[in-house]
């Protein structure tokens, strides 16, 4: 299914909801206007457009932009050997999106990872727990306001973390007093 064809079918099914920005490096991207309706679009893509395989879900934190978060779904169609990216912005205030677990079971762990790392919740997820960090860890490490050196924290089970020493490390740094100001993203004002 080519780009125009896909766009036309999506426009007919979801009027005004889906945009298709210009192709970059031969990849087609769909931008869904409303994250709450993302699973509907995904289900339509899976059922009607034969995008039967979910490769990956990524969360991106666009700090200082509204809406702040973005979910990126990488889909693949075996029949057509075609890759498709579907993404939607998620606002920080109501960081909750309907789960895609009932479309693809593989979404289960990807969504748990995004919940763990970004703090986006998935409504209807069967078992939304942290997956890489331990239960009870208070932060979401892949958010841009979480410093690379880490944040000290303590949990009742005897786990603890401390900020890691950054001096002399391989990271791109700039001169500054505090370690977190030396990180590259501090080049853009927070």
């Amino acid at each position: 299914m080519n780009r125009q064809n896909l766009k036309a079918r999506l426009d007919a099914e979801f009027p005004g909801l889906v945009e298709m920005p210009p192709e970059f490096r031969g990849e087609t991207t769909l931008v869904v206007g409303n994250a709450g309706r993302l699973p509907e679009v995904l289900r339509f893509l899976e059922r009607e457009c034969a995008f039967d395989y979910l490769i990956d879900i990524s969360g991106v934190d666009h700090m200082n932009e509204t809406p702040r978060f973005e979910l990126v779904y990488e889909l693949y169609s075996y029949g057509a050997s075609q890759h498709l990216r579907a993404k939607a912005r998620v606002p920080e205030e109501s960081a909750e999106v309907p789960s895609a677990c009932d479309i693809w079971p593989t979404a289960n762990w990807h969504e748990r990872e995004i919940f763990d790392m970004m703090g986006i919740r998935f409504a209807g997820h069967p078992d939304l727990r942290r997956i890489l960090m331990w239960d009870g860890y208070p932060h979401h490490p892949l958010r841009k306001d979480f410093p690379l050196e880490g944040l000290p924290c303590e949990t009742p089970d005897g786990h603890f973390t401390q900020a890691a020493p950054m001096d002399g490390g391989p990271f791109v740094t700039r001169p500054a007093e505090l370690a977190h100001q030396r990180e590259p993203r501090s080049k853009s004002p927070l």
Partner: protein, 408 residues
Amino acid sequence: MPDLAERFARHAEAYNASCPEAERLVLNVGPSHPTTHGVLRLVLELDGETIVRAEPDIGYLHRGDEKIAENMTYNQFVPYTDRLDYIAPLANNVAYALAVEKLLGWELPPRGQAIRVICCEMARISSHLLGVGCFGMDCGAMTVFLYTFTERETLYNLIEMLTGARFTTAYTRIGGMTRDLPDGFVPGLRKFLDALPARIDEVDRLLSRNRIFVDRTKDVGVISKDDAVAFGLSGPNFRACGIEFDLRRRHPYLGYEKYDFEIPVGSVGDCYDRYYCRLQEIRESVKILTQVLDSLPDGPICVQDRKGVLPPKDRVLTSMEELIHQFMLVTAGIDAPPGEIYFGHENPKGELGFYICSKGGGVPYRLKIRSPSFVNLSILPKLLSGHMIADVAAILGSLDFVMGESDR
């Protein structure tokens, strides 16, 4: 929140209380256990010897690689990719370099591509040799492990000759490689390729019709085609379910379309098929490597972009232009365009993907690693339920996962 084992125990107790004859038991396996190949923890709820419920607990090897990547230039992240699938570091290096090159819109000259194919296939052989060997050991066939490890030793010597390191290779750079093939490498690899098929035949004879091995793996851990797609499996685990899917064939990169090779496919999707697919893939990799060596082109190994790849040292020390390029590349990194790409690479374990979101400049804004082991493990709750506890070793061994990659 209560621990996983505690939650399972509560569930089991509630069941035992509701049913007078029930004797459900919760068993905690790992995180450090010989069958879990690293630091995977499994919590199993057992009814006698049968697994009723299973839940893997991962994250014990989490290092925050994606966070680290956001704070480095593209080239600085190459050594971190060694530590993803540490059984096949060369393939990770290539996958990562190809992903960034896709973002940049670069393509390597023919010799560079051929060398990268050599890297990928050597990594595949090395990974599958370990995978098959460990799987054999998990099922009680110790000898196979020693045979395959002997072959890996030769391979590691070759990798050391090529990259200077046996394990943490960090061989590729964005737009090329650190160095060309050294003298004596091609004859050394040819000698290895000549000797390997006989060894693989030996492993084949030791395992493939071995009564004990076949009894423990045939019709154990069967994954249906539908489940394989729904759970996003990839690599040999996916092909063992009877689906002919290989990114090297579907979306050729590095000139894979020039090489003649077969894609081994299973029929049942059980542990035995997964083992046999890996064994066959080693044979196919040998075929590919022989063809690459026969048609190895001459020429440069790096992209001829003077602002993208480090210039030759003698020029840096004599010419102002190159000095500036060198300085900018080392301090600020390659200037990538804004945009986002996903690149999937056929790694030995499955599809290793990199999603890169760039906002311009030398540092990725977001780098997501789609690791095959992470996705392959997510089928475990479904796969283990209903099996006997002794099958856990066979199923885990046949999935051939690496926790370094799963936990990132």
